[in-house]
Symmetry: C2
Subunit: 431 residues, 2 copies
């Protein structure tokens, strides 16, 4: 294993043979290749990219670094999964899981924590009093079998190479590279062993991928990796110019997910949940197409079955599903529209920064977060507002925190004359 | 110190302000920035380069990481130094030092060890029985004052940042970057404190710099750094397509240097020594121009004064100057010309590999070397040879080693009909 020489070839733009790349990753996981050589390699990859063959080899080396959950095999059924590349206000998993499970399709999933301006499903679920995200592999499989749904944290023995490489990428400015992102996401999906996955690739200033072209490149890389592993993959490119739904902040987002599985919720969010559920059902062993999937998903939201599954799920993981038991912030402030007109922009990244300032997110891994705080965007893009009308709500620890967040939030809004051109939420679906 | 964020800006092609770059290097030397962040930074620099201002800031941060020798200040005179970027058969320091000192100009210098296919002056000097390369700073200064010349290893307290960064670059494929090479060389020259330096930038397949354009870029970067530090710098770009002189291998090269200071030696090597000495004398406080410098250098070679200084110097550092005392190899094999014709090429890198195979060099730092072995290239580029005539001599530990080196050496020679176009040794001088 001549690590320096492999780095040099990658640096010079050569393609590294699969066997060598596998050996490099395996040696890194065994601490035989030091962090500094891995860091130099990752930066060379940032500049040169990885070929499809290299991306595949990297992904499979990462999968091979740990255990495989083999969820579908162990349940003896097709299991579906969804993944989002991370956005602002993205609580889709918490709503779509119960819908899919209510339609009779097993939904067993490992999720992550939030870092930077995007939140993580585990943090959101932990705002539910008593909710336990650390399940053993057996608990995850058993619960998925028994009540149709389980969402847990990544276990340490699943794709340890990703944990190690991601940690290194985070401190060496090598996160934002399409092949590395695709390999990181898909190695975990392949190791978990779902049969099909719907990937929601967020596009816009609130997301990793700033342009549709970049998002499409990532989607295609992930689809190729899934297919090579025998997994059905559908990718949606969805707009992350503004937050998804209205709530940004952990308990506030859980409440919005609960409203949605109860048959309510913001229209854009409900639409994304129904669309994702329809795709997941069409990929399942129910033998239905997407239109029928959509009909069944809508029915589950209307007839109370999605809510019933949500409640069973939360209880199974030790939580109290009553939304009245979610933590609340001591200060709730209404933010008034500074002018009359239409909302032309509601910049997702600034809304996320306001929520971070309130304490809803973390800047470095391991930082504690405040589950109660956050922002509710009452008026979103395209909405006509009158000066003085409530634009948004700030849920804060104290008045000083609310002041800071209010200034940031007002800067996220752009209000002007005339209605803006509508922008679709789902930009593209790649089957 | 947000190291990850600084790496990201460099990666994106931004210029890093001098203060931040200084802080980054200082934090790295204090182990507050880990190797993996420095490695990612170096790889980003490999792709993006450094601006002149960044190169200057890096160089001065490196100088500031340790002590300064202030050689000229301590001697109260202008002190001259020379440096070669590393070639095959480059024993110029060992011959030019005595010539310059014999002309009355102090020559105090720190040298390095060989790594890869280029040899290091310290390794060559250590082939002299008893020669001690580890002098304290005071010993170096005192010896230079007393006998006019001292050549020693880098002390640990001089530019520790370079030692640390060079070690990291060596294992992360980030050696061959012009700004990093310039900063590494010039930080040591500035910290040593000579008044003027002649830089010999080797060009060709046996050198770091493969083209005249690359070599000129490096020369100009080093000149700019020297001038900013108040140092006079002359750069020579010299051909490293074939080895310099005839001998490649430690004791063999010392013998050739001795022959040269004794008034003999191969013509190309003698010419380079006289040219460099002339430039050093012109940069000294003798008040002579280069033509007069050349006259005095030639006189020192002819009248025995250079040899006398060589002998005093070697004895001062504990060595025995008698060339008969140099170690010799048990097997000396003559390599016959396989065909008649002219030598069209004598590829420096292959000759170096033959010498490495014999044990004259090291592939990784710290490896022991055999001082006695090596190659003597009797016929060089342009020379007419008859089939069967001796082309070269191999000095080996055993017959098997000689066999291997002979095959490599024969592949270094290209013999064909007609005389090749002559190629000058000195390609360009940048004053």
């Amino acid at each position: 294993m001549q690590a320096a020489e492999l780095i040099e070839r990658k640096r010079n733009g050569e393609e590294i043979p699969a066997g060598e790349l596998r050996e490099f990753v395996a040696a890194y996981v065994r601490d035989e290749v030091p962090d500094y050589q891995a860091a130099a390699f990752l930066m060379a990859v940032w500049f040169r990219g990885l070929s499809p063959a290299e991306t595949y080899a990297l992904t499979h080396a990462m999968v091979a670094s740990g255990e495989r959950l083999e969820l579908a095999t162990r349940l003896g059924r097709r299991v579906v999964d969804k993944h989002s590349t991370g956005g602002v206000g993205d609580k889709v998993t918490i709503a779509v899981g119960p819908v899919v499970a209510a339609c009779g399709v097993p939904f067993g999933k490992m999720s992550g924590r939030g870092l930077g301006h995007t939140g993580g499903t585990l943090d959101k679920l932990e705002s539910i009093p008593g909710f336990r995200v650390e399940l053993t592999t057996d608990e995850l499989v058993d619960q998925t079998r028994e009540i149709g749904i389980a969402v847990a944290g990544q276990t340490a023995d699943l794709v340890p190479a990703d944990k190690k490489l991601y940690g290194l990428r985070d401190v060496t400015a090598t996160i934002d590279q399409v092949s590395l992102i695709a390999a990181s996401i898909m190695s975990k999906k392949i190791a978990a062993g779902a049969s099909a996955v719907v990937l929601d690739v967020k596009v816009g200033e609130g997301a990793f991928m700033q342009t549709v072209d970049d998002a499409r490149e990532l989607a295609q890389a992930m689809r190729a990796l899934g297919e090579q592993a025998g997994m059905d993959v559908v990718c949606e490119l969805t707009d992350m110019g503004q937050p998804l739904g209205r709530a940004v902040g952990n308990a506030l987002e859980v409440r919005e997910a609960w409203e949605t599985v109860s048959g309510g919720g913001p229209e854009d969010f409900r639409e994304l949940v129904v669309g994702a559920a329809a795709q997941l059902l069409a990929l399942s062993d129910l033998g239905v197409d997407e239109a029928e999937g959509r009909r069944r998903a809508e029915a589950a939201l209307e007839d109370g079955s999605a809510l019933a599954v949500y409640e069973r799920w939360v209880r199974a993981q030790g939580g109290d599903p009553d939304p009245a038991r979610l933590p609340t912030a001591p200060v709730v402030r209404s933010v008034a529209a500074p002018a009359s007109g239409h909302v032309h922009e509601l910049r997702a990244r600034r809304v996320a920064i306001a929520a971070m300032e309130l304490g809803a997110g973390r800047e470095v891994a391991g930082q504690p977060i405040d589950h109660a705080v956050g922002v509710v965007c009452l008026c979103k893009r395209g909405r006509q507002v009158e000066a003085g009308e409530p634009l948004a709500e700030i849920h804060a620890r104290d008045e000083a925190g609310a002041d800071e967040a209010e200034a940031t939030l007002l800067a996220a809004y752009e209000i002007g004359p005339g209605a803006p051109e509508p922008r679709p939420l789902v930009l593209e679906v790649i089957h």
